[in-house]
Symmetry: C3
Subunit: 140 residues, 3 copies
């Protein structure tokens, strides 16, 4: 009924990256019907679902989010870990640290244009740890 | 234990719309105890829980989110699908593409003022597809 | 398989507060493997995961979010419940009204720096109600 996997992503540069297929290659078969919960164990990166086709969408995410949550804002007091640190915490709570995706017929039931984004908010975030929890059953 | 439904909403205009009762009318009986996950299969619309009473709240969502994530921002490069497209992608990740609601005694255990919002970010988004996954059991 | 708890938090002042241990003290033993869903039954407060160590991060959340979603913005029409009300609704949908956390070996599988934040957006929000739904099983 419940399968759980902990995995480490390769290091990604700051920005927005599609990891749907990488994640599926790291876990076992999905049940027929259910839900996949993907969780990131960090407070300076996030997970989201968004456009999987045109890479300009991911570029615009990086540009816009940097403008929405700027570095070196004078209101920040938490500044000793680098100018990218506090904005990364804020972006993490705005974007979120998990996504849940329905499973139908043993596959993720995503929309045509939906892909899973790793949102790397730090300049040098390194390898990020995910926990994937699959709740399901094998009736069709 | 797990019930799953895929449904198509009627077309809604750009803005924020309460769909709680519509959604409940399209699915079967809820279990006694559990969780209902509602997922939207699109990258330019979102789902959220917010005030279900005064419609001025939904109007203010539309006004404020348009100011927070403006059209024609000079940082956007993904512009060929219309000025409402890239803002719709950004809003979708800020608001989120799913909500999960506890079920208690066979009913959604929402707060008094909570309703489920369809957040339609496109000018002509058309009919949107939802997947509802109910995980539950019938002990009280 | 499914355990559910409804609980009332003590009143917290406006701001961001770590409630991980308080919440765990109010519920029963966790299963070996599963998922914990925490839901807030309000539209002017939120739940998020973020840094659990340096309190300056929580201070900066309060300062930055007040700047991102200002009071008395001229676009607001929903103003009769106080200048902190409409911003609280907006922040609630931007931050979110639930979090889901994986359970491994009978414990929350949070990252080292992750804590559960109650995000109190009102000046006098009072006691807030949470619903905790635990879906799990006892195989290791």
């Amino acid at each position: 009924m419940i399968q759980q996997y902990e995995l480490s992503l390769p290091s990604f540069p700051r920005g927005y990256h599609i990891i749907t297929n990488h994640l599926l290659s790291e876990i076992g078969d999905l049940p027929m019907t259910g839900l996949m919960h993907v969780f990131i164990k960090h407070t300076s990166a996030g997970l989201s679902l968004n456009e999987n086709a045109d890479p300009s969408v991911r570029d615009d995410f990086e540009s816009f989010m940097n403008k929405l949550v700027p570095e070196n804002d004078p209101v920040y007091s938490h500044i000793f870990e680098g100018s990218d640190d506090m904005p990364a915490h804020l972006k993490s709570s705005l974007i979120g640290s998990s996504v849940s995706i329905p499973i139908h017929n043993g596959r993720l039931n995503l929309g045509t244009w939906q892909g899973l984004y790793l949102c790397e908010f730090r300049n040098h975030g390194g390898s990020r740890k995910l926990v994937v929890t699959v709740i399901g059953e094998d009736k069709g």
